[in-house]
């Protein structure tokens, strides 16, 4: 998501599942939707059958999505920036870009500082010693009022468009083919198909998933795709967009609610340790417009923040104490992400850990490190409906988990919780829809809901603090707890709270009452910074109004026949279904094309088949930009200081690469891998070399399994009972492996054993003068449950993450294959 927000303003799927049917071209890259999202993928088939759409798949494997594609091109894992960067250059050099869209809706015309530059793989400001950038030069040039300078002719040598053009000009077809291993004719074919969507009445949608995020350059891969869609004018349009297909049923919701080390609900963020001044904290996040008169919606940050503090701390949060600003934990590290946490845990710096429905032993890279880290904990709490490998990390399972139980001093609690079928509540799907569901039966045995477990622990701690005193307790003792049964907060109560309500009458600028005290707020526009409203998650405001729970709505009618079921469930923000939909219309407010129309200006206001993602009364003459969360109002080709490793994407090799250097910068070792990535010493020592581990490996899912859960289900165990790996025919022949042989796959960090599937679906690639073979390794199976016992795949994977998000590089690493 860290690639989308710096480009468009929000880190979420821009369109939605059903809208895929409106696409003319579907590019699936960095994902395998037919397999991982099979039912959502039906809308791709719908587009093919009823909208004459074409499907392109670019992937290391000829996967199940490729099997129904119109065109497939192979690519070496981890080289997508080169592939897409070459495409961007091709579009610009052959003048196949959407000029009017680019000029009006992107930052192409903005002028960048004179001292900004890029040389031999590094942007200006690199500090090689610390592996960090000083981003001072990554800015626009501003006038005296703080507005960015522009050149609408796009000819100024330092305007974003020209800098981008020069930056990507190095990605010629020959270079790209050599980096990616994609044959030139296939490359060209894909590029031409994509270029054809530059016209007003054709759109391409891009579907991606973890195949893009799980790289050390993952965020920048996604940004390259986002830039591509801006150049083609495919954002905000029906059948367009950059669609992040989330991996789990409520990852979107947990991210929206800020369950990441540095976040608060609604994409607000915790203060850093040196942000001691409340007003400075707010000012830093209330981003002002960088072009005159833009919406720049984050300017209202304080309204959302104060409303959150009122929801959490009630009457204790006052203007006088800066709404309890000091009570919020402040960060001494940029991220306390999981790689950072397990590094610290392995050094004994963490004593307790709680895993709620999460199985890190199976899900995190480098299992041996995870085991060593968990073994140093004093206590581990696992809250789960199922047995997990994590809860039993101390148990010896022979070759699959060979630990010395007696030496592991961790106290482990295993708490049974309800599964989805046994609780009420809502989840957010990839399309940002909040869908409510109901409990159908009681849970087995003594299992109770997560909310009751959390409340049970919290209320006991609270009582201990009342009885015994202890470390700083103002925040925990004053936490607002307005639940009828304190030990069991209900889903309804919690949902009403994150929607929010008025504590006092809320008035507009004309002193009209817009929301009476005690009423639920109808939308985030009603939230105030004066303490008169409470809302636990401002982007969810509107999901539970005075009319009741909007998430239970089940009107599936589609009155415009375009796939927008506005009466089904509720979508954040403000029930908008296609983000940035103002961009579906020309600057004058008329649709670019009737068949792509979403919203348009009717002379008085914005109307259409969706809720406008735009101020409804902002006339086209006001010329406000469609990307309302961005300070420029525009889509950002230039990420400014929002990305760790540079304002433009650049190809860097995976940390374990099957070739000797980065072909883009063969003579600069600093630019071989992502120069902004954080690598811990013990992890670097555990990287393998291509001399010892010659094959590029990548992990993936199967349609019959979900992670390490469905191996506990009989039906799924029957469908896919045993661990296998995929090996291309050529390599298998070289190694004397035939279909059905057992093989050992080893990396620097350990080995697994599995059945070999010898396949034509993975072909050898010619990369930088070398033949590279790729190995496909499904993530599924383990040593618990109903399937045949197997090693965990993450025994093999390296512990290094994307420079921005620290998402581990599960998709590109090195292995060796031996016949057993």
């Amino acid at each position: 998501m860290a690639g989308l927000a710096p480009t468009f303003g929000r880190g979420a799927m821009t369109n939605h599942w059903v809208d895929i049917r409106n696409a003319d071209l579907i590019l699936v890259m960095g994902g395998n939707a037919a397999e991982a999202h099979p039912v959502g993928f039906r809308w791709v088939m719908e587009a093919k059958e009823h909208n004459d759409a074409r499907l392109i798949v670019v992937d290391p494997r000829f996967n199940r999505t490729a099997a129904v594609a119109d065109y497939y091109a192979e690519i070496r894992t981890g080289t997508d920036i080169a592939f897409l960067g070459g495409l961007i250059s091709y579009l610009i050099e052959t003048d196949q870009i959407h000029h009017e869209y680019v000029r009006a809706y992107t930052d192409a015309s903005l002028i960048v500082r004179e001292d900004f530059g890029f040389e031999d793989g590094l942007f200006t400001g690199y500090d090689a010693e610390n592996g960090e950038y000083d981003k001072e030069t990554w800015r626009y040039e501003y006038d005296d009022e703080g507005y960015a300078l522009r050149d609408d002719t796009l000819t100024h040598p330092r305007c974003v468009f020209q800098l981008m053009r020069v930056h990507f000009s190095r990605y010629t077809p020959d270079v790209v083919s050599s980096v990616c291993g994609t044959p030139r004719d296939k490359l060209q074919h894909v590029w031409d198909m994509v270029a054809a969507t530059v016209v007003n009445d054709k759109t391409m949608t891009i579907l991606y998933a973890l195949g893009w995020t799980q790289h050390s350059i993952g965020s920048q891969i996604i940004r390259t795709a986002a830039m591509l869609q801006l150049l083609l004018g495919n954002m905000g349009m029906r059948g367009g967009g950059v669609n992040a297909l989330r991996g789990h049923s409520n990852i979107q919701g947990l991210t929206d609610l800020g369950l990441l080390s540095d976040l608060l609900p609604g994409y607000m963020s915790l203060p850093e340790a040196d942000e001691q001044d409340y007003e400075a904290y707010i000012l830093d996040r209330s981003r002002p417009d960088l072009l005159p008169g833009e919406v720049s919606y984050w300017r209202y940050y304080e309204r959302f923040h104060v409303s959150l503090m009122k929801a959490w701390f009630g009457d204790a949060a006052t203007e006088a104490n800066n709404w309890c600003y000091d009570w919020l934990p402040k960060l001494s590290e940029t991220l306390y992400d999981v790689l950072h946490t397990f590094e610290r845990m392995s050094h004994g710096d963490i004593n307790g850990y709680i895993c709620q429905g999460f199985n890190p032993l199976a899900a995190f890279p480098h299992k041996a490190k995870t085991t060593a880290a968990l073994s140093r904990l004093k206590y581990l709490v696992v809250i789960d409906p199922l047995r997990t490998e994590t809860a039993e990390f101390w148990k010896n399972h022979g070759e699959f988990n060979d630990v010395n139980t007696a030496e592991i001093g961790t106290e482990v609690f295993r708490l049974p919780t309800t599964a989805f079928a046994e609780e009420d509540g809502s989840i957010v799907n990839s399309s940002r829809w909040l869908q409510w569901f109901w409990a159908a039966a009681p849970p087995p045995g003594e299992a109770i809901p997560d909310t009751a477990i959390l409340a049970g622990i919290f209320l006991r701690m609270q009582q201990m603090y009342r009885d015994e005193g202890g470390a700083f307790s103002d925040a925990l003792l004053n936490l607002s707890w307005p639940y009828r049964y304190p030990a069991e907060p209900s889903a309804n109560e919690l949902a009403r709270e994150y929607n929010g309500w008025a504590l006092e009458d809320v008035v507009d600028e004309q002193r009209n009452i817009v929301c009476r005290a005690g009423e639920q707020v109808e939308d985030f526009g009603m939230l105030r910074a004066d303490g008169s409203t409470a809302s636990g998650c401002w982007i969810f405001a509107g999901c539970w109004t005075n009319e009741g729970n909007q998430m239970i709505r089940r009107d599936n009618s589609d009155p415009y026949g375009v796939g927008q079921t506005l009466g089904w469930a509720w979508s954040w923000p403000a029930n908008r279904r296609i983000l940035y939909n103002r961009a579906s219309a020309r600057p004058d407010g008329t649709p670019w094309a009737e068949r792509k129309a979403v919203v348009w200006w009717n002379g008085n206001r914005w109307v259409g088949n969706d809720v406008p993602d735009f101020p409804v009364e902002s006339a086209p003459t006001e010329a406000q930009g469609p990307f309302i969360m961005n300070q420029t109002g525009r889509g950002q080709f230039f990420a400014r200081d929002r990305m760790v490793e540079g304002p433009f994407p650049e190809h860097y090799e995976p940390f374990e690469t099957p070739i000797a250097n980065n072909p883009m910068h063969p003579n600069n070792p600093l630019a071989k891998n992502n120069p902004g990535a954080r690598v811990f010493e013990q992890d670097r020592a555990n990287f393998g070399s291509f001399e010892e581990f010659p094959h590029a490996a990548t992990t993936y899912r199967l349609t019959e399994h979900f992670h390490y859960w469905t191996m506990h289900n009989r039906l799924n165990a029957i469908a896919q009972p045993e661990k296998f790996v995929e090996i291309g025919e050529t390599l298998a022949n070289e190694l004397g492996i035939v279909k059905g042989d057992r093989v050992r796959v080893s990396s620097k960090r350990g080995h697994i054993e599995a059945v070999a599937v010898v396949t034509k679906r993975i072909r050898p690639l010619q990369v930088a003068g070398r033949t590279v073979h790729q190995i496909g390794i499904p993530i599924h199976w383990g040593y618990l449950g109903e399937t045949k016992r197997a090693h965990l795949t993450n025994t093999l994977t390296p512990s290094v993450g994307d420079a921005n998000t620290q998402t581990p590089e599960f998709k590109s690493f090195l292995v060796r294959v031996d016949k057993l």
Binding site: M1, R42, R246, G247, H248, N250, I251, Q252, L254, L260, S261, D326, P329, S332, Y336, T341, I350, Y353, I354, Q356, A363, P385, L386, W394, K395, E407, I408, E411, F413, P416, A419, F420, A421, E422, G425, I427, N429, W438, A440, E446, A447, T451, I457, F458, Y465, A471, A475, L479, L494, Y498, F540, W568, T703, E704, F706, T710, H712, N713, A719, P808
Partner: protein, 197 residues
């Protein structure tokens, strides 16, 4: 194998025409029924609307459970199928969703709170109160010992970094919101969810 057909079914089959006539010619004559027609399995089930818990498509599912509504009867889910009204899934389920019943009823479902004491090789069943109290005690002791109110530069940080949490990817928004609220009130900053990986 003998094919037993009741008189009533025989006449219904008759509507099909030729095939039935030829069956009669082959000697299948109606016999008196010894039992009634088997009831449709889902008759009388309670239908609960839900969503699949696996990927992010959010397919609508219908959970069929039975219990007769009496005060001491317990509902049990015995059938799961796609929700035909759902605008995305329109009644479809993939192989994962089709196996949801086996997840709900999996042998691996946990039923009781348990503890593994340090160095031992077994799970011990304990009561909820014991489990939650022991966990709260561990957390408070660790928090009291390691809470940082001011950092070395004298900044007020009020954070706790020696106990961390991973939040669930399939839990509800309501669980997630309560988790966030509690965790931050304790000053915890080591918090992530599946979106990180």
């Amino acid at each position: 194998m003998t094919l037993k057909v009741t008189r009533r079914q025989f006449f219904k089959l008759g509507a099909v025409g030729m095939a039935t006539s030829s069956m009669a010619m082959m000697g299948f004559a109606p016999e008196p029924a010894l039992a009634s027609i088997r009831q449709f399995k889902l008759t009388g089930a309670k239908i609960t609307r839900s969503n699949c818990t696996y990927c992010s498509v959010g397919c609508g599912v219908l959970l069929y459970s039975r219990g007769d509504g009496a005060i001491n009867s317990i509902d049990s889910i015995y059938h799961v199928e796609g929700d035909p009204d759902h605008p995305v899934s329109r009644g479809s389920l993939c192989p994962k969703g089709a196996g949801l019943l086996d997840y709900i009823q999996s042998e691996s479902r946990l039923k009781y709170p348990q503890v593994r004491e340090p160095g031992t090789d077994e799970w011990k069943r304990i009561s909820w109160d014991d489990a939650l109290t022991r966990i709260a005690r561990h957390m408070k002791d660790d928090r009291d010992a390691n809470f940082v109110d001011q950092d070395a530069e004298g900044n007020t940080v009020n954070h706790w970094t020696t106990t961390g949490m991973l939040a669930a990817s399939a839990s509800t928004n309501e669980t997630a919101y309560l988790t966030q609220k509690i965790v931050r009130s304790l000053g915890m900053v080591v918090l992530d969810n599946q979106a990180r990986v």
